[in-house]
Amino acid sequence: MIALLAAVLALAASQTSKGMPPLQKAPPTQRVAVGAELYAEHCISCHGANLIGTPSGPPLIRVGAANVDFQLATGRMPLEVPGTEPMRGPPSFSRDQIDAIVAYVTTHGGAGGPPTPTVQPSRDLTRGRVVWEDNCQQCHGATGYGAVTGFGWIAPPITPATPQQIAEAVRVGPGIMPKFNEHALPQRDLDALVAYADTFRRPDDSGGYSMVSAGPVGEGLVGWLVGVGGAVIVMLLVGETLKR
């Protein structure tokens, strides 16, 4: 029901934006005004008027542009059910609308958090891998597949995220993820990390059908079903069964 409502609202919102000139070219005041409208429609019930927060949602004072962009662009916000884990999904807003909300939030007390990072192409996969192994694989797994973090929450898979979103997550630390600032993770390391994370989209499947998501658990299952199962089929073919 809430999802349906959100979808209708999103649809309505995208209809209104079509009738207007592209927001990128629109004067900043107009973008902020559109953002304010969207904020009042979709965000205010949890994050409160003037970003001060409510019992259902945290304040957005000084969260920063990168955080707002990450939450909206990965479809984590708006949340269907307050208090549940924000999960990746199709974004509810267009790129222009997200920029408008970011403009509204950062001009109304939300500025000050980690700035929106930029990612430069990097070829240093070896460095990126070391950064990943030291900082990320404990929750997101050696192959970026993700894993549980406890109490029903998960560290999500990395493959759906764009380089920009990965960089934002690193700097912002959404949810229970720690945030890594420029001192913890210099820009060059971030670039290398994002380049390495991109290799998860095409994992090296040398050796055949890959079960990396399940690891030795999947291998054990295949060993029993195909290995022992295959041998038992041979036994049944050459051996006999009991006749009553």
């Binding site: 996969l125 070896t126 990126g128 891998r129 192994e133 030291d134 694989q137 404990q138 929750c139 997101h140 797994g141 050696a142 192959t143 993700g146 894993a147 549980v148 406890g150 109490f151 029903g152 560290a155 390495y196 290799t199 994992p203 090296d204 499947d205 040398s206 050796g207 055949g208 059908y209 890959s210 079960m211 990396v212 399940a214 690891g215 030795p216 658990v217 291998e219 054990g220 299952l221 295949v222 060993g223 029993w224 195909v226 290995g227 022992v228 295959g230 041998a231 038992v232 089929i233 041979v234 036994m235 049944l236 073919l237 050459v238 051996g239 006999e240 069964t241 009991l242 006749k243 009553r244």
Partner: protein, 460 residues
């Protein structure tokens, strides 16, 4: 050809009487009697494939810098020679990856085959006197297979197995009084040390395989001397063995199983990826990925650690670590009971007779219930070992799931045993009712509302 070969041997050795009886030895035809052979063929396959791997693997913890195009993200990385040699063996050696994968698949199937074989032996009472002699040898073989599997899995010095090795070392250290010596003996120092891989290699390719070969020979020699058991039935009595002669019928059957086993293992090795160490990365002691599980035959011990109580005991300056109970005491107690089972059962059921005929599981509810309980217990521990993966699939809290297993590990075996006893009793009642003849029973409801049975024996 066989005849002339036998004659040539007989001229020189006088071996004809032995060969005559050996080639005509009767092997029971029931398929489940081949499960042990499956394990034996796995042993042969693992020796052959492992021999090939020894030509290329470097059992060395020396630090080297890897340069290769096969894994771009490891180019220029410092790692142990062991890990680098496995990368080279996987990507730059003729059929290296195929053989390595088939070798690893074989280890998984080997342990599974040994356990399935023991299940057949256990649930049909094949371990009873005089074969109680061979039961502890079989259990020791299973332990050796698990030990060889674990040491082999740890050799490439990758992230996943390195973390497992550190856990194994911690468990060894938790043994009171002798723990530090045990850990030193098996790992050559505090992991990561420069001796670990070399020592594991010696255990993996020398000591354990030698012990396996010696005990397997003894196992089969005792079987040969004592002859096979068989299911009761047409013409099968306590004082005979009915089956196919070793030559030619059973030889062909057995060779078919060998070819089938080798075929399945090579197909798996060629088509299904196993232990992709280039994705896990080289072992560094300060990090570990998630999820992380060992190979399945060790998984039940991992599960025991996950659901074990945080029960550290402090005796003055000495501490018995919480790892000791699930990591050492529990498996030791379980295997002690399994080793002693033939004598426990004999004492409980006051059955000191020799048995050449097998029982069906329903004929001995107590034994069946115990076996079902042990299997359920270890299966629950094995499942608890992958609780994080299940929690993610089910979208529930891993903490709650751990609590489920803490209870299920003890409750479900009892429940399963009770259900097993019930099923055995029902089957006993049915067999008592039908006697030797299967019958078709039609249940009819009379006009009064009562029920009547109409029994027709099905002719053989």
């Amino acid at each position: 050809m066989i005849r002339s070969l036998v004659r040539a041997l007989d001229d020189r050795l006088g071996a004809a009487p032995f060969l005559r009886s050996a080639l005509r030895k009767a092997f029971p035809d029931h398929w489940s009697f081949m499960l042990g052979e499956l394990a034996a063929y796995c042993f042969i396959f693992i020796l052959l494939s492992g021999t090939y791997l020894t030509f290329f693997f470097h059992p060395s913890d020396a630090r080297v810098v890897y340069h290769g195009t096969a894994v771009p993200s490891l180019d220029g990385r410092t790692m142990t020679d062991a890990y680098a040699s496995v990368l080279k063996l996987s990507f730059e050696t003729q059929v290296g990856l195929l053989i390595r994968q088939a070798h690893h698949w074989c280890a998984l199937v080997f342990a599974a085959a040994a356990i399935t074989h023991m299940g057949r032996i256990f649930f049909t009472g094949a371990f009873r006197k005089p074969r109680d002699l061979n039961w502890p040898i079989g259990l020791t073989l299973l332990l050796l297979v698990m030990a060889d599997g674990f040491t082999g899995y740890s050799l490439p010095d990758d992230q996943l197995s390195g973390a497992g090795l550190k856990i194994a070392q911690s468990i060894a250290l938790s043994i009171p009084v002798i723990g530090s010596w045990v850990a030193w003996l098996f790992f050559g120092g505090n992991i990561p040390s420069t001796e670990t891989t070399n020592r594991l290699f010696a255990i993996h390719i020398l000591f354990v395989p030698l012990a396996l070969a010696a005990l397997l020979t003894l196992h089969v020699a005792i079987l040969w001397r004592q002859k096979h058991t068989q299911f009761p039935g047409e013409g099968r009595r306590e004082n005979n063995v009915k089956g196919s002669p070793l030559w030619p019928t059973y030889t062909v059957k057995s060779l078919a199983l060998m070819m089938g086993t080798f075929g399945v293992l090579l197909l798996l090795g060629g088509f299904v990826q196993i232990n992709p160490i280039w994705l896990y990365g080289p072992y560094v002691p300060w990090t570990v990925s998630s999820p992380a599980q060992p190979d399945w035959y060790v998984g039940w011990l991992d599960g025991a650690l996950r659901v074990g109580p945080p029960l550290a005991i402090h005796l003055g300056p000495y501490t018995i670590s919480a790892l000791f109970w699930p990591g050492v005491a529990l498996p030791a107690a379980l295997f002690a009971i399994l080793y002693a089972w033939p004598w426990i059962e004999r004492a409980l059921q006051r059955d000191h007779a020799e048995h050449e005929l097998l029982q069906f599981p329903w004929q001995n509810p107590m034994r069946t219930a115990f076996g079902v309980a042990v299997l359920t217990f270890t299966a629950m521990l094995l499942l608890a070992g992958s609780d994080d993966i299940q929690a993610r699939m089910l979208r529930i809290s891993v903490q709650q799931l751990a609590w489920f297993y803490r209870i299920a590990v003890w409750v479900l075996p009892l429940l399963a045993a009770a259900i097993a006893v019930r099923i055995c009793r029902e089957l006993q009642a049915r067999h008592a009712y039908e006697g030797d003849h299967p019958a078709r029973v039609v249940l009819k409801r009379g006009e009064e509302g009562g029920y009547e049975e109409e029994r027709t024996l099905i002719p053989r």
